[in-house]
C-alpha cells in the first residue's frame, strides 16, 4: 500500500471516530493490532497497551465513558512508506471532574498490508492528569 492509501485509511478512521462508529474503526485494524495510549493508568482511565480488536474496542468504550470530546481535529497527515503521523488538536472534559482541557497530540500509525498494525499516541499527559485530578 502506498503512503497516500494509508493516509486515506487513517482519514477514514478519524471520520468514523467523529460519527462514533467504532466498528468501522476496528475494520481498519489487523487482528493482532497493538494500541498504545500514554499516561499513568491509575489516573487516566484509558491509558495502557491494548492488543487485538476486542481490547481496542474496550479502549474506545472507556474513552467514551470518561471523556466528553468537544473538539478533535486531525490537522496534519505526514506519511511515508508504512507510517502515518497525524497531528491533532483536541478539547475535552473529564466527566468525573467537569474540567476541560486542550491538548496537542501526535498519533503514529504503522501499517501492514493496508491495515493498522500498531498505533501509539504521544501527548502532554500532565495536562490530561490535571483534568482528572
Amino acid at each position: 500500500m502506498s503512503a497516500d492509501e494509508n493516509v486515506k485509511t487513517a482519514q477514514e478512521g478519524y471520520a468514523a471516530f467523529g460519527r462514533g462508529d467504532v466498528p468501522a474503526i476496528l475494520e481498519l485494524l489487523t487482528d493482532d493490532v497493538e494500541w498504545v495510549e500514554p499516561g499513568p493508568p491509575d489516573v487516566l482511565p484509558a491509558a495502557g497497551t491494548y492488543r487485538g480488536k476486542e481490547e481496542v474496542g474496550r479502549f474506545f468504550a472507556i474513552t467514551g465513558e470518561n471523556l466528553e470530546i468537544h473538539k478533535f481535529e486531525p490537522h496534519a497527515f505526514i506519511a511515508q512508506d508504512d507510517h502515518v503521523v497525524v497531528l491533532i488538536s483536541t478539547e475535552a472534559t473529564a466527566k468525573s471532574t467537569g474540567r476541560r482541557v486542550a491538548n496537542h497530540i501526535a498519533h503514529v500509525w504503522t501499517f501492514r498490508d493496508g491495515k493498522l498494525a500498531h498505533f501509539e499516541a504521544f501527548s502532554d499527559t500532565a495536562a490530561a492528569v490535571g483534568a482528572y485530578s
Partner: protein, 137 residues
C-alpha cells in the same frame, strides 16, 4: 524533497549526539519557532536558536546526565519531517533512568529548520525530572 529533508534532519541528530551544538544551531532558521510541550519543565514557545539553547538544551543537559535523543524512525512528506525519538539519560537529582519516547515534528524552509513541535508523555518525563527540581524551575 522528502529524502533530502530527512538526510538533513538526520545529520542534525548526529551532530546533537556528538555534542556539536553549534552545528545543530546552524541548522535552525534565525527565527525558528520551537514548541516545547507545556507539561515539560522547559515547556513553552521559543523563537530563535539562542532562546532554544537557553530554555531547553541548557537546562535539559543539566537536569539529565548523558541526555540523548536517539531517532528511531523518520517519516517525511513535503517540507515536514516527523521523527520518533527516544530520550535517555539519568535524572541528576532523582537518580532515575530516563527512557521515554517522543515525537518531533520539524518543518523545513530554504534548507533550514523553521518550526519544531514536541509530543511527549510529560508525566513520564517528570518521574525522572520533576518540574520543581529542574534548573528551569
Amino acid at each position: 524533497m522528502g529524502g533530502e529533508n530527512i538526510e538533513f534532519v538526520k545529520s542534525l541528530y548526529a551532530a546533537f549526539a556528538r555534542g556539536d551544538i553549534p552545528a545543530v544551531l546552524d541548522g535552525f532558521a534565525e527565527d525558528i519557532e520551537w514548541h516545547e510541550a507545556e507539561g515539560m519543565p522547559y515547556g513553552g514557545v521559543y523563537r530563535g536558536g539562542d532562546a532554544v539553547l537557553q530554555n531547553v538544551f541548557g537546562p535539559i543537559s543539566t537536569d539529565v546526565e548523558g541526555f540523548a535523543a536517539a531517532p528511531e524512525e523518520f517519516v517525511g512528506s513535503g517540507d515536514t519531517v516527523a521523527v520518533v525519538v527516544r530520550y535517555t539519560g539519568v535524572g541528576k537529582v532523582s537518580g532515575k533512568p530516563l527512557d521515554v519516547p517522543a515525537v518531533h515534528v520539524w518543518e523545513i524552509g530554504d534548507g533550514k529548520l523553521t518550526r519544531f513541535r514536541q509530543f511527549i508523555d510529560t508525566v513520564k518525563f517528570a518521574e525522572v525530572v520533576p518540574a520543581d527540581v529542574s534548573v528551569a524551575a
